[in-house]
Symmetry: C2
Subunit: 556 residues, 2 copies
């Protein structure tokens, strides 16, 4: 059997243990063409072994054809119809390659493709790749291929933080809108207001703010246990009615939102990941990620109120008919992409485009710096957590063990007056072994939330290049129109229209930036406080343990 | 030039970084025949590079003659008169080889051999080898060669923890005493009482207990700065008169004590060492070692009261004549070795030798276990200190740095409402960098004292095999005498004498063991308490710093 080779389509920078970086066009060797929850294992060009996203590479065939796997969403996907037999090295389960998944009936029952246990995150379950959480993303993009920003939906859903890499593919509705090509009937309920606030344009606040709890996920089974999946219990505060949703429902919703809102940074849903961090229970970890996601959704004045999200939050999970109706309605929503801008109403006074440009440029610089520093912090914190779980724990436990050994040696002495000391030293040994455990347990309480926060923001930061791209594109059209008017190629009315529509896009973009800063300050303040509080409790717990040990010497 | 080779005279087990183990008879390669404060650098037979004590090897010459260096104390030191020119590979400064040091006039001024700066522990000062602290040990042993346990004095003074290795050489006075060969006039002031205490025989308490402070050492110079040395200020509580002493004075005193007291564990003075631990200031470290040593001296009912120690503590340092008188008197003391036992008075009731044997065997097992466990604890603590100074510090400082970088990125945002947060995160970064420093500083406060304690006790534990050997030897003589009496080869009176003298040795040995346990419990209790108190303060300091950081978020 020939070594299975693939070519990297994009740069991928490894960020977690077990991952390996690849460069665009680099030739990599795969251990199997069967991906593990969207990841391939293999060697990169430098011989480093590890995981990289399956969607980042295209497999090289001996006949020089290539098949980019689960992530493939190019409209002219040449290899979509390669027969199963064409993949000669693939095991039986691989006979439904990702490229063919688009043939599945998307509108069938949500769970019909799930014929084996659907437990997210079980790396060993290699055969779950094309059902459950995986394919919904894929199908969304293929079935909605005709829409403006289908690629955006796909790429964001598949791998976060990499949207900017696909920016050349992104066809947001911005251009069409600026050029006046968008049209649709805006209902009163669809209206989205940008108001002038203290710091510039901002989204009108949600007059009915709410939050939504996500309770402990439970395993559900169907068809006499033949199918099983994880169900999350969602309880929004504005209805107080619990609904059950699966990861793939979140995934579907996410795709709808990305499609609908071209200049809003839709928070990324937690990634599928093959390498569990610190062996922490994956389900609990995903739940935490979904809680963060939900928090960002309900905090956003526009996202929180939109129909598809409300349908997701409120539709009775037992009423399949109602669910499907809402789902179809959302998928047929006209007010997406270019048409989204039609729904925006702006402050009376138009913006000064020069000022807008300066603000946008400043924000662009800001996001770059923030992206770099969150990446660095993320790596540092990850390593810090690893050290606490391994090295720090080991050191404290070794000291504890050595104290225990000393106390055991001392117990060989039968002098009555040394018994108290021996017990105290033995207790001290236990205390240090306990402190070692404290160090190992701590990252789950304080560093993990920091990492979750950083991951969420890295997702947002990955969204902004495209958002900025839309605004800059609009501004370029304005400049071009001015030139065209000067050259007599365009009438003033037409240019004025472009100006006005660019103003709408600019208002929306600045409102979104303003919102980003506000939740950023809120989130980082809260997380830093939480982190420090946890650290303080941690060191106090250690101090308490040591004080307990010290007391044992009082009567020794 | 031929490689300089040497043969190991004894086993040496490396215990510190930089040292390398050698086995008896192993051939080693030296980098230079010039030792560094009593250590050679070279390769052992397994090709491992490092330091080993110069006194443990004899240099092999091409003419097959050998010269064991500074540690050489065999009476028939054949190579003492090799002309300087004979050492062809030696640099100029090497022209006074260690073998010749014995020609020096020992009774000359204490400092006369010191013609270059005498700063202990400066490894770079390679030319100090044959003056200052080094040679005094050597001269003591050669000048007292006629006495019973000169080798013991030498070997203990040169390298601690290795006395047991020389047990076959050790001719303590025990045998001579048991056989009734010791004789001398015991003055009232020389009388040493063993009394029956709650737990068996014990030394009569010192009715006038005292302690002695050792104040910060200062550098002294003589002969217009041509000679310099470190002087320690000693202030005993019973005189309140400060005297100045140099390390070599301690070294001389130590040799006297070892010579005089065959069944008392004389605490080892801090070793000369070439490899500084954690680059801590060597002088301050040696002072701490001397404080420990002094504490054990003044705590010992017999050692604290003996003449030579009192001379050392009280003789006016400016009065050279008085000093020399006391010195000569001590060196001519008749009540050393075998005669020491003449000075002991025992409780009226003789001991049950079976019970004594069982106690001694129990103690032997105890010392073995304690030696193993203190060695392990010592290694663990050393590694723990190293980790705190390197890894722990680095991790906390990296986290601190990453927080700083994040705050700098956030400062790119000109939103007024984020200024407070930026400052708080920046402060948090500083706090973590400070905590990193705390970790690096901490071992000096809590682990170093533990290591000093363990080193002192490892010295005591190394003394006990010889002490036990003396007692066991006496007991064997008793058994032999009983047999001889049965066989009619010895009269009852003679055997009774052996019995009585074995009783004296046994009383002294058990009193010493009892004293050992008492100070052990006292010292370990005090040190463990000190350690835990320091650790508690440390974690409280961290908590305080974090609380300070947390407060910065209150108005952020």
């Amino acid at each position: 059997i020939m070594a299975l080779r693939a070519r990297a389509l994009y740069d991928f920078n490894s960020e977690n243990p077990g991952e390996v970086s690849v460069k665009e066009n680099e030739i990599v060797t795969l251990y199997s063409e069967q991906d593990i929850e969207g990841w391939f294992e293999g060697l990169n060009g430098r011989g480093e072994r590890g995981l990289f996203p399956a969607s980042y590479v295209e497999i090289l065939r001996s006949d020089n054809s290539s098949c980019s796997t689960s992530g493939d969403t190019y409209p002219n996907s040449r290899y979509a119809n390669i027969p199963p037999g064409g993949f000669d090295t693939a095991p039986l389960q691989r006979q439904q390659p990702a490229c063919q998944a688009s043939d599945d009936d998307w509108d069938d029952d949500w769970d019909d493709s799930s014929t084996v246990a659907d437990e997210p995150g079980t790396v060993g379950g290699r055969y779950h790749d094309f059902e459950g959480n995986g394919p919904s993303t894929y199908r969304v993009s293929t079935s909605s291929m005709s829409r403006g920003n289908a690629q955006q939906a796909k790429s964001s859903a598949t791998v976060s933080r990499n949207l900017n890499r696909f920016s050349t593919f992104v066809k947001s509705g911005g251009e069409a809108f600026v050029l006046g090509e968008a049209s649709g009937f805006v209902k009163d309920g669809d209206k989205i207001c940008v108001v002038m606030g203290q710091y510039g344009p901002e989204w009108q606040e949600n007059p009915y703010p709410f939050t939504c709890a996500i309770d402990d996920p439970t395993k559900q089974t169907k068809f006499k246990g033949m199918k099983s999946y994880i169900s999350y219990k969602l309880t929004p505060t504005h209805t107080q009615n619990q609904v059950n949703r699966r990861y793939k429902h979140f995934d579907w919703l996410y795709a709808r939102l990305v499609e609908k809102f071209p200049v809003i940074s839709v928070p990324h849903i937690p990634e599928k990941q093959a390498t569990g961090r610190f062996e922490e229970d994956f389900i609990s970890k995903r739940r935490k990620g979904l809680i963060w996601w939900m928090n960002h959704m309900t905090s956003h004045p526009v996202l929180a109120r939109c129909d598809v999200f409300q349908h997701f939050l409120t539709c009775n999970s037992a009423d399949e008919k109602a669910w499907k109706q809402g789902k179809r309605k959302a998928e047929k929503d006209e007010m997406v992409g270019a048409n989204f801008f039609l729904t925006i109403s702006t402050p009376a006074a138009p913006l000064d485009f020069q000022e807008v440009e300066s603000k946008i440029d400043g924000f662009k610089t800001f996001t770059k710096r923030m992206d770099d520093s969150t990446l660095q912090l993320s790596a540092t914190v990850n390593e810090f957590a690893r050290k606490q779980i391994s090295g720090f724990k080991k050191e404290y436990q070794r000291v504890g063990f050595s104290f225990k050994v000393l106390s055991q040696a001392f117990e060989m002495d039968q002098q009555v007056y040394s018994a108290g000391l021996n017990q105290a030293i033995s207790f001290t040994g236990d205390a240090y072994e306990a402190i070692g455990e404290y160090f190992a347990e701590q990252p789950g309480k304080d560093l993990d939330p920091i990492m979750d926060l950083l991951a969420l923001y890295q997702g947002h930061l990955a969204n902004y290049p495209d958002i900025i791209h839309v605004q800059k594109g609009a501004l370029t059209k304005v400049k071009e129109s001015h030139k065209h008017v000067e050259e007599g190629k365009m009438d003033g009315m037409q240019a004025e229209g472009i100006n006005e529509r660019c103003n709408i896009i600019s208002c929306a973009t600045l409102a979104e930036i303003q919102h980003f800063h506000q939740i950023r300050v809120r989130d980082f303040k809260a997380q830093m406080q939480h982190y420090l509080q946890q650290q303080i409790s941690f060191f106090q717990k250690i101090t308490g343990k040591l004080e307990e040990a010290l007391q044992k010497y009082d009567n020794a």
